[in-house]
């Protein structure tokens, strides 16, 4: 069964007719030729297809396109136009988070990278809004992105696989943009002893 929907992707509005069983990822890639979201598993297990959907990070392989009629989607190709980005979507301009990935060598083959970028931007925004994570010690205390330690960053990015194993650079890049102290200057895993004791 076909139905007509409207999606705004990286600032461009698209009216498209899709089979109702089409996933949002397939609608983007196959129907709109937006290939900046990648398909790694199609089962919500690798994070490569992550985009910002209505401002929140979201897997596009596990949701149907028809459920997002009228929604606004930003992919890695469009994040530089976001607040905090360079403000435009020229093919050469990068969001500060993307710049940091480049500086810290947070990628190799680049396949998971668009998902990592969107996930990291979404994650920092969640932290800014005070969302705790599974490893947040004090749920009452407000969260500040700058205070996210390695464990927090890792936990919050634990939905994105990178088989090339560029994780060290990814964590460094995110911490730099979050505004916290860089990893190098820190004692080994500062948050761990407390949690060990708590267990």
């Amino acid at each position: 069964m076909d139905t007509s929907i409207t999606l705004t992707v990286d600032g461009r509005r698209h009216d498209v007719v899709v089979d109702t069983r089409t996933t949002l990822l397939d609608a983007l890639r196959e129907r709109l030729a937006v290939t900046s979201a990648k398909k790694g598993c199609d089962h919500g297990q690798c994070g490569s297809c992550t985009v910002l959907l209505e401002g929140r990070r979201h897997l596009t392989c596990l949701t149907l396109a028809v459920a997002h009629d009228g929604d606004e989607i930003v992919t890695a190709a469009g994040v530089s136009a976001l607040e905090g980005g360079a403000g435009d979507d020229a093919p050469t301009s990068l969001h500060p988070l993307q710049e940091a990935f480049l500086a810290h060598d947070g990628l190799q083959c680049g396949y998971c990278t668009p998902g990592q970028v969107c996930s990291a931007i979404g994650m920092l925004d969640e932290a800014k809004q005070g969302h705790p994570s599974h490893v947040t010690d004090d749920l009452e205390e407000s969260v500040d992105p700058a205070d996210l330690d390695d464990d927090e960053v890792r936990e919050r990015m634990s939905g994105n696989l990178c088989r090339c194993g560029a994780y060290g650079g990814i964590v460094d890049a995110i911490r730099e943009v979050a505004g916290g102290a860089p990893r190098e200057g820190q004692p080994d895993r500062p948050a761990q002893p407390e949690r060990e004791a708590a267990r």
Partner: protein
């Protein structure tokens, strides 16, 4: 002079594109309604005869364009006869007496869950999958053979005509190992196992093909580690001339070995369908297909016997192992040959005998995964070193040190044949210095204090060490073409493909340094047979060594030509010229200069001017009327082309050490420190090398602690998803990996380099086994090791302490015989 770029941490030029999602992977090519989509019906059974395939119900599904079974491949009216033959056995070896390969679509029999049975092309993948569900296949079940033990027992056979399920048996000997062991003061025997894992690139396999009937040419994009290999195979199988086939591999979303296999069934079916239908056809596998129908690696059972003196010096080493190669052997014996040779690591084994059997099972085939047999070999040798140290009560580093090949013993000839058919001769290395470095880096000598302090807190920690030597830069050759355009831009092509190694950056560094052009002006193309048809592929940590050397040589040729033309133009002596930032000038006379772009104009005598610059090369402007415009021994154009073909491989080396903590209750294994000393000769781009090491270590952690292929007894892969096959996320990789480099140059290539791509993963199973054994106090003989495995071992050894026999403890083989 500008700074040399080689050796610098130059940021990667490909990253901007990748960061914006602009990577062009195969599924990103030819997107649109004109492209048709393929899907493959795969065997749900591990072993069965195909009695009948009924496709009747598919033919009238709206949107279905084509359905093929083996019968169609054998139809001479549609197909070249070659399509009905088995897929190529890519690497024949005299010992592979019973090599078998599958058909593009199963003929009569299926031998693993996932084997291709039927092929459908439809308007989109959804329709294609709907169509698959309507195909009815009648199977006659046969008993499946799963695992090394079942293969060895040979109660059932995978292939009727392969007795004992033995595809190959290969023995290599140096001296008389059994006699040396019998005569040795001390002897030990170990039984070891390593489970299956797999490469699991995040981009699976994919192929798109377009046939142009007007020019009679096939263009194919495929996610491969060898574009030239696919091209040759497709041409032969489709009955086309090589010149009719172009294969392009744009960006690849990881390979790690699996994509060196070619042609996959789909790499023949897709272009054939595109030719028949006259429409572009695309196949992109899903994740489950990648799990069950691409390839795995690692699974081996090993038996080691060793004789040694009071210092732990090896006198004789006798290794027997059984290698599970799955249902077919397209990649020959490469993996077990590498295990059997690279097992030797940095050591002199005394007398050595190694024999392996490569066995058929009803599981997906086994072909190289990053490390390619080395992780298993290193595991066998390093477990043996640890066992000797434990037996003699010596420090594990001392036992290793007495066995090292010394720096003044290179080139060191092991008197064996390596995977490339060439002598196993190490070119260079400095193992004693590596050992000193790794001990310092991990804090080996201070660890007793760390252990005591941990114990006092009720914590259990252990330290492990593993050493390896890796043959890299395997032949036969790679080539490169460097072309300076009249704009001054430099176009570089090499044939092998790129899966994230930053080739566009490193190769541009080499060209900028050698030619003297600006780094920004260099553009590198890999994996495009139109640009460089002669190539081998990306595997065995060979890209930097092989293509890097070829590019260096090609750039040198381009530079020689540029200097010759510029010397004429500037009326100067070649020896007085230098090229900096793309400008050729007379040293000390900066006013007298000419750009590389202008040199390129002059290199190509013209009749027709096409712009202002080209006027300088037209017939009334340049040239000596008394000589031909292009000299007899010259060619037009400012280009350099060269090939690099070394006599043999170059051997990189390294050592890893890890400190782990094992949880007393949950048996969780936590990494407290991971240290790497790595020697790949001169570093071209340390940032990229470190990235490769980090990535390898991450995969190694997965392979040692989490990843295994869980086949049940009927040959079903139970964990064919990322939820169940546990690859490391960011949460499983340690905070920091301490890396120290040693740069022992290779004498075999002009850059003094060795490969670096696989190193990080090679010693993982060995180093974790060593550390966990150290923490727990009982032998670790099976990897990977999960918390559940460790829990079972603890229980077993607690029982063993109260008198039960301990099957996993290394034993004196003569004792064993007495029992």
């Amino acid at each position: 002079m500008t700074t040399r770029l080689v050796g610098q941490k130059v940021p990667r030029v490909e990253d901007q594109r990748f960061l914006r999602g602009g990577g062009k992977y195969v599924d990103d090519v030819l997107v649109g309604a004109t492209t048709l989509h393929a899907a493959v019906l795969r065997s749900p059974h591990a072993h069965a005869r195909v009695v009948e395939i009924d496709v009747e119900d598919v033919l009238d599904v709206e949107g279905v364009h084509l359905v093929w079974t083996y019968e169609d491949l054998a139809d001479a009216a549609v197909m070249p006869a070659t399509m009905a033959e088995p897929l190529p056995l890519l690497i024949p070896h005299p010992a592979l007496t019973h090599g078998r390969t599958q058909y593009a679509l199963a003929k009569d029999e299926v031998n693993y869950v996932g084997e291709a049975v039927a092929f459908v092309v439809a308007s989109d993948r959804y329709v294609a999958e709907d169509a698959l569900a309507r195909i009815r296949v009648t199977y006659d079940f046969l008993p499946p053979v799963v695992g090394v033990d079942a293969a060895r027992a040979a109660t059932n056979l995978v292939h009727d005509d392969v007795p004992g399920n033995v595809g190959a048996r290969l023995e290599q000997t140096v001296g008389d190992a059994p006699a040396a062991i019998a005569a040795a003061p001390h002897r030990l025997a170990l039984d070891l196992t390593v489970e299956r894992s797999a490469c699991m690139p995040l981009e699976g396999r994919g192929t798109v093909a377009r046939w142009d009937p007007d020019s009679g040419r096939l263009t194919m994009w495929t996610s491969t580690q060898t574009a030239s290999g696919v091209r040759a195979a497709v041409a032969v199988k489709l009955g086309l001339d090589l010149g009719q086939v172009d294969v392009l591999t744009p960006d690849t979303g990881g390979g790690f070995g699996v994509k060196i296999n070619h042609p996959w069934p789909e790499e023949l079916l897709v272009p054939m369908a595109a030719k028949v239908l006259g429409r572009p056809v695309k196949f992109t596998e899903d994740r489950r297909e990648h799990f069950i129908s691409s390839a795995h690696e690692r699974g081996q059972v090993q038996h080691v016997e060793v004789g040694f003196d009071d210092d732990g010096r090896l006198l004789g080493l006798d290794v027997e192992f059984w290698h599970d190669h799955g249902a077919y052997t397209p990649y020959g014996l490469i993996v077990p040959i590498i295990t059997s040779t690279q097992l030797l690591g940095p050591y002199k084994p005394g007398a050595y005998r190694v024999v392996f059997e490569s066995l058929y099972t009803n599981t997906v085939m086994v072909t190289p995964y990053r490390g390619a047999g080395r992780p298993q070999g290193v595991y066998a040798m390093e477990r043996t070193m640890d066992a000797i140290a434990a037996y003699l009560g010596k420090d594990r580093t001392e036992v290793r040190a007495v066995n090292f090949i010394q720096p003044d013993e290179f080139p060191y000839d092991h008197q064996m044949v390596f995977q490339d058919g060439r002598p196993l001769v190490y070119d260079s290395g400095d193992y004693p210095q590596s050992l000193e470095k790794i001990k310092a880096l991990v804090g080996w000598d201070e660890f007793t204090a760390v252990r005591d302090a941990a114990r006092a807190e009720g914590r259990t920690v252990g330290i492990g060490l593993a050493c390896y030597v890796e043959g890299t830069g395997v032949g036969p050759y790679e080539g490169a073409h460097v072309h300076v355009e009249t704009s001054g831009k430099v176009k570089v092509a090499t044939g092998l493909t790129t899966q994230g190694q930053g080739h566009a950056t490193v190769f541009a560094q080499l060209v900028a340094d050698e030619l003297g052009c600006r780094f920004e002006d260099v553009e590198v193309v890999t994996g495009d047979t139109r640009r460089m048809p002669y190539s081998v592929g990306t595997f065995a940590s060979r890209a930097a060594v092989m293509s890097g050397s070829a590019i260096h040589l090609a750039a040198k040729r381009a530079k020689e030509k540029a200097l010759r033309i510029a010397a004429d133009a500037l009326e100067a002596d070649e020896g007085d010229l230098e090229i900096v930032d793309g400008i050729v000038s007379v040293r000390g006379a900066p006013g007298s200069s000419i750009s590389l772009g202008t040199v390129a104009v002059l290199s190509n005598p013209l009749r027709y001017a096409f712009d202002e610059a080209s006027k300088a090369a037209t017939q009334f402007t340049v040239g000596d009327p008394g000589r031909p415009p292009v000299a007899e021994d010259d060619e037009p154009g400012l280009e350099g082309k060269d090939f690099y073909s070394p006599e043999r491989s170059t051997f990189a080396s390294g050592m890893h050490a890890v400190i782990v903590e094992t949880d007393p209750e949950t048996c969780e294994i936590r990494i407290l420190k991971y240290a790497v000393v790595h020697d790949c000769g001169h570093l071209l781009n340390p940032m990229i090398v470190e990235g490769q090491v980090h990535g390898g270590v991450a995969q190694g952690i997965g392979g040692a602690l989490y990843e295994r292929m869980e086949y049940d007894e009927s040959g079903q892969l139970l964990n064919a998803s990322f939820m169940d096959f546990l690859m490391p996320y960011v949460t499983e990789v340690p905070d920091g990996i301490d890396i120290d480099h040693l740069e022992t140059p290779s004498p075999l290539n002009p850059l003094g380099i060795k490969g670096a791509g696989e190193a990080g993963v090679i010693p993982s199973a060995a180093v974790f086994a060593s550390a966990i054994e150290d923490a727990e106090g009982f032998p670790i003989t099976a990897m990977p090791i999960s918390p559940s495995d460790l829990f079972a071992l603890r229980q077993q050894h607690a029982a063993g302490a109260s008198g039960a026999p301990d099957p996993s403890r290394p034993s004196d083989p003569s004792d064993q015989e007495d029992r």
